[in-house]
Amino acid sequence: MLRRIGTGLVVLWAAATAAYLALLAAPGDTVDAIIGDGADTPLIRSQIIQEWHLDRPAVVQYLDFLWRALHGDLGRSYLLQRPVSEVIGGQLAPTLTLAFSAGVLGIVLALVLAVTTRRPWARRASSTLELVLVSTPPFLIGIILLSVFSFRLGLFPVSGDQGVAALVLPAVTLALPVAGVLTQVLRDGIDRALDEPFVVTARARGLGERAVLVRHALRHALLPTVTLIGWLFGILLGGAVIIETVFGRPGLGQVTLQAVTSEDMPVVLAVVVFSAFVYVLLNTLADLAYLIIDPRLRRS
């Protein structure tokens, strides 16, 4: 466990450093980024340099960044003039709500589809649907849902983060491709499990086909799914950027996009460190989940 945490810290440091170096190499310097399209005179420049201590060598700034990040201080946003933790913290809830509901919805959809579409024709229909879902750009799904259900039918609010109704379309958009992939993995797992000896034994014991499917095969098929948790996180967080843009939702994706286009370095760094942190956390959780689902692993 200690080793895990150690590895996690190394990953965090590597992510932060890589991002720092990348941003350092970006065109235009920090003063340019802060000035934006505003007035630009030597006096204004010198004041900005003074305010953000930009006259220090890059190494010192980097070490200062690391030192303060270690103390939980991620600095202030150049653009928004507020502590980064506040900027990101305020946008965390909408993104997490979206990602979580989409994740749950995707998993439920996949479970239902994988278990119910066992007959050949249903399977074929479902497979085709999955193929279409994973091949369609999510923004296209979002745009179509938005124009049909919000603009034409007026069933859901068009925008923002106002209650459950506004969450439905974005969550569905993000969940559909997830469901597409997960259904395939689950069905594959179930197929394999159904060939295993223990299923034959269960059947021999006179267990109904449904019970075999749910109690034995599904359980077996869940194991490979757990390894996908890291992948799922990538999809949900990355997908959020696009979904938030399409649906005009506030969230981490919008903050990131704004920070990158306006070179708001402290915010970009914080987003990278945060994503790395969630990644490390989820992988640790996935390892634990393994132990719970498959008791055999506990011994080793």
Partner: protein, 538 residues
């Protein structure tokens, strides 16, 4: 009988409101009523809520809800006292004495007086606080003096009539001196900054909305505000909806009652809906224009600049992109400004034959395989670099339309790129551009021209270094017959030197449910006004 009387009174009140707020929309909302809560979707989430740091014209309608300045603009280029009761200028134009209103309090209970005004100016001049204001708007300010609690004196280094523009600008808004001292995130602003305005900002949810409540003690509206006493609305919520289609959808589905920023393509949807109304206001300041970089080829040659303008049929391009909703600009100054020179209209442009002849004469007579003109093997290329965070009004689409037009009519290669801020700034710094695009929303066009045209102007992107132009701009800043001075400036830069290709006059649009009354545009600025005079019929 009593009922009829009441109706008549209400009607006259409504009439009054309609007259006094410039551009107030004709309304089906009936007489003003107090109470209610309004949702208003706006395009832009302000980068900062501190008025001193104000830099986005789109944030102006928010600023004036909870903050106020000493003066405000009327619709004829003059000023109306707001937190002031009047001002006097010394004969040498170097001292402005402003009398202040008494009995005004900030929403945190602090008293408004000359000391509070001075504390704001001191803060603006503090190192690293508002470098742009200090370097531009207050460049001629020597100091301020508190004469007595109700009188303050601005001493200038040299005559500068633009100081009045500063006194009526968001940067000149007066923030409670207590907040200036105690605010945790002063530069970001927010609910912790107290002002004197008709509303109080009580909640800011980043990425989502601003929520204001009525200031019940408010009783110092300027004479042109439409009514007196507290605001009509109890609450107003501004929601940030970046996408225009989403804003329009929110309005048509009744999630919000008012939206601002209605692009041309969506306007038909509003006007076709009997429940909704649409109104437009032209902004002040400089028109959206292309500035030719004269520091190197090809635009160092005036003939190429003229040819570019002749090659372009601005009306057709605007018609295609904005579907007849845009107002064409003929000068660098917006047509609503009192300083606008209308004699420039229809004097140049849209003459492809002339453009081609001029380019042939200027040596760009050969064409390459793709049909672009060349000279000594070099293509006639003009690069326009747009910074993605600041592209608005579909200016990227407009650029593509211009690109297609000048290619088709004269073989000019306009290269458009939409890039991040750092790359854009770098392109400007390295002089790797031939065309710069910009519009300024300054309430006094002179302030915009100082930045854009003076040899040492902070946004002088034409590279023009012209002492005659500089002295004209200085004369305009000092006062005198400003209409004549700025007329000469416009003739020089547009007609004589062809430094600029004006395109359109930026405008703002408000679309609203007919249940909302009292919406209008801020005099002079032409942007949507604050929510003070707005009501919601029951």
């Amino acid at each position: 009988m009593r009922h009829r009387l009441w109706l008549a009174a209400a009607a006259s009140l409504a009439l009054l409101a309609g007259c006094s707020s410039s551009g107030g929309t004709a309304t089906d909302a009936g007489a003003p009523v107090s109470g209610g809560s309004l949702s208003w979707a706006v395009e832009t989430e302000p980068i900062t809520l501190n008025p001193h740091q104000y830099a986005q014209a789109k944030a102006r309608l928010l600023v004036w809800n909870n903050f106020e300045a000493l003066l405000t603009h009327d619709d004829k280029g003059g000023y109306v006292p707001w937190l002031a009761t009047g001002y006097e200028v010394s004969p040498d134009g170097k001292t402005y004495t402003v009398k202040l209103r008494t009995g005004v309090t900030f929403s945190d209970g602090t008293k408004f007086d000359a000391a509070a005004v001075k504390a704001n100016v001191d803060q603006l001049l503090a190192d690293g606080y508002a470098p742009t204001v200090a370097a531009v708007q207050l460049k001629n300010l020597k100091n301020v003096e508190v004469v007595d609690p109700a009188t303050i004196k601005y001493n200038l280094k040299q005559p500068d009539v633009l100081i009045l523009d500063f006194l009526s600008s968001p940067q000149g808004a007066v923030v409670s001196p207590k907040s200036l001292k105690e605010a945790k995130n002063l530069k970001a602003g927010g609910p912790e900054l107290a002002g004197t305005g008709p509303f109080i900002l009580d909640k800011y949810t980043p990425g989502q909305e601003l929520h204001y409540v009525k200031n019940p003690n408010y009783n110092w509206a300027p004479a042109n505000a439409g009514h007196t006493g507290p605001a009509y609305l109890d609450e107003v919520t501004y929601r940030f909806l970046k996408e225009s289609s989403v804003r329009v959808g929110a309005l048509t589905s009744g999630q919000v009652q008012v939206i601002e920023g209605v692009p041309a393509t969506d306007q038909a949807q509003i006007t076709a809906n009997p429940q909704l109304t649409l109104s437009k206001g032209l902004n002040s300041g400089s028109a959206y224009s292309y500035y030719f970089n004269t520091s190197h080829a090809p635009f160092d040659d005036i003939r190429v600049r003229q040819a570019f303008r002749d090659a372009l049929d601005v009306d057709t391009v605007l018609q295609g992109v904005y579907r007849g909703t845009a107002t064409r600009a003929w000068s660098v100054i917006s047509p609503t400004s009192p300083l606008y020179d209308s004699s420039l209209e229809k004097t140049y442009g849209n003459d492809a034959a002339k453009a081609n002849a001029t380019l042939d004469a200027a040596g760009w007579s050969t064409r390459d395989a793709e049909g672009y003109r060349t000279k000594d093997g070099k293509r006639l290329t003009a690069r326009l670099v747009q910074s993605a965070p600041f592209v608005r009004d579909r200016r990227d689409i407009l650029a593509q339309a211009v690109q297609a037009a000048v290619k088709q009519s004269a073989g000019i290669d306009l290269k458009v790129s939409v890039v991040d801020q750092g790359t854009a700034t770098k392109a400007i710094e390295d002089n790797q551009y031939e065309i710069f695009d910009n519009s300024r929303a300054d309430t006094d066009a002179g302030a915009a021209l100082n930045l854009l045209l003076r040899s040492d102007g902070a946004i002088n992107r034409t590279g023009v270094q012209d002492t005659q132009l500089d002295s004209l701009l200085a004369a305009g800043e000092a006062g005198g017959d400003r209409v004549k001075t700025y007329g000469e400036i416009q003739q020089k830069v547009i007609a004589k030197d062809a430094l600029i290709q004006p395109l359109y006059a930026p405008a703002d649009q408000i679309a609203s449910s007919k249940a909302v009354g009292g919406l209008g545009f801020e005099p002079t600025a032409g942007v949507p006004g604050n929510a003070y005079n707005v009501w919601l019929s029951k």
